[in-house]
Amino acid sequence: MKMNGARMVCEALIAEGVKTVFGYPGGAIMNVYDEIYKQDGFEHILNRHEQASVHAADGYARATGKVGVAMVTSGPGFTNAVTGLATAYMDSIPMVIISGQVPLALIGTDGFQEIDAIGISRQCTKHNFLVRELSELPRIMKEAFHIARTGRPGPVLVDVPKDITAEIGDFIYPDSVNIPSYKPTVKGNKRQIEKAIDAILKAKKPLLYIGGGVVLSNASDLVRKLADMGQIPAVETLMARGVMGASNPLLQGMLGMHGNYGSNMAMSETDLVISLGARFDDRVTGKLSEFAKYADVIHVDIDAANIGKLVDVDYPIVGDVTHVVEKMIEGLEGKINPDKYTDWREVLERYDNLHPQSFTDSDTVIKPQWVIERIGELLGEQAIITSDVGQHQMWAAQHYPFDRPRQWINSGGLGTMGFGFPAALGAKRGCPDKTVINITGDGSILMNVQELVTASEYKIPVINVILNNHFLGMVRQWQTFFYEARYAETDLSYQPNFKALAESCGGIGYDVTTKEEFDSALKDAIKKDKVAFINVAVNRFENVLPMVPAGGALYNMILDDQQKEK
């Protein structure tokens, strides 16, 4: 069928089953927008900033497991998208981003709104394409989706010059992909898996170390089964919250810089780390030489480059965690004795009882942790929680009772402030039956606040709970602990009227200073079905605890404020 390149882009998206595209038009991408106007295969959501478009596509992908799609124009449209690409790249989120480019003949001439998108995005995409010939466009679109969702997922950029989108040619969308140089290893090596099974059977204090790869691979049920059959304790990374389920007695909690005492001690004392889709990030390991010091390490990862990158691995297994855990379960069936680790579990239980994940509540001021726990009590499994970056993010990860994977959406690797609100829009569009709450701070929310307009226009009723301490809280906490309380540029006392701001954009706002007000605001916001800001005045100097100071050993935690003051 004959059509122009712009139409081919749309037809390819439809062929890939795309239902929602987030984006922002501009000169170089206009031909594609003209074709979007004429079709009804997918909806387009006009964010009010390209960064938000990419985060929204990202949130959509994280909530649904499908490939997120965003579209931007050349030059500043593309550069605004870069933070979104980098965010998705660090957390291995499958996305396809289409960017307009100046006509081929203008490339390299410093044309209006020209920037080398391929050059700039090379280090923050899994792969990128510049379409040089119209005939290549269908194949490139097919490959982009394939590369984004297979192997270790990631964002893929397709940069399309304006003359390519105008040119007319034959559209035949390929049925299959053949990239001889790209063959991800899905199946783990059989002998390596057998060795790992032997190691598990021999271990006295095994520990499952669960990372975001388990979520990406949709392997949570299998991992729960593996833990259950051996009664093996587990810790989750920030990206894996929800995999085990909050009420699972085998779950110790989250480990790392703001992990709970039990999890960090478990990692410090285990004799066998069973790492599933985790990458030993510095925020998880603390001081590497002290990390899991007494343990052998099984490392299952679809990305061979993650294995042995930071820690020495005794049992490397390259493969999809779903496949490998299936084989592990088969191999352990009937052989593993769940009573074997009773002593180990008792040790961990004592640690947990010694310093449980807790906080001191107050009658005079709202504690941010209380807000999180309260949302959990009221909404539990029914909500999808997104977050921005900072203290509120850590409190949400620590205190929300996540029961299932994809319930918790945050920028873990890049730590992008401004991620949460647009990601919530994407999550809500992907999962309209869920209540979507963005837990945010008074710093982060302003970094994509223009999305109030998008949310109102498209009636995407996400609720932003602003834990407002009038500080850039996490940086303030570091200043308190490590910079002798010199609060350089972290006092955010000067701020907008959040309630009025939300309402000026067609949303609804609440100012909350008591627990009762919070309850009624949240219930009202859910009922009103509008985008909402719930501005909660919380304790100004609350710290996220426990805390492992950067570069310290995991077992050396600051557990309470008094301890710090000593």
Partner: protein, 156 residues
Amino acid sequence: MSGTRRVISVLVENESSVLARVSGLFAARGYNIETLTVAPLPDTNRSRITIVTKGSERILEQISKQLHKLIPIYKVVEHEEMVEKEMVLVKLPIEESLADIQALCSAYNGGIANVGMDIIIGMVADEPRRVKHFLEAIKRYNPIEIVRGGVVAIER
């Protein structure tokens, strides 16, 4: 820079930005490049990039794995026994002894490539270690300019 020296051969799809992907990877992750050569392979749409690098065992392993992750890369070869050669062109003043230079160059697997009105151009192609010796030896003939070609290697 300290560490083990390693020759890595990379077989790539011959597309416009592939060299930038490879060199960009080295720059972004702080890996060291001593030499890099690239040329298309005959009768295919592939090229071969030969990189000489240095680093700890962990870094060298990372280089190979990270290279392998790039989509247009078919193969990363790190052979124990590589036959390595590097070519050098050297420009010398005509006043120097042509016979001496001829003899020196042929000792290092080369010869006189060109002689002009006022210059002599010598060429050698030899193992990297021997190239180093040649570069020391040629000094006494007052070279005007030296161009090294970078290492190419093939596994035995």
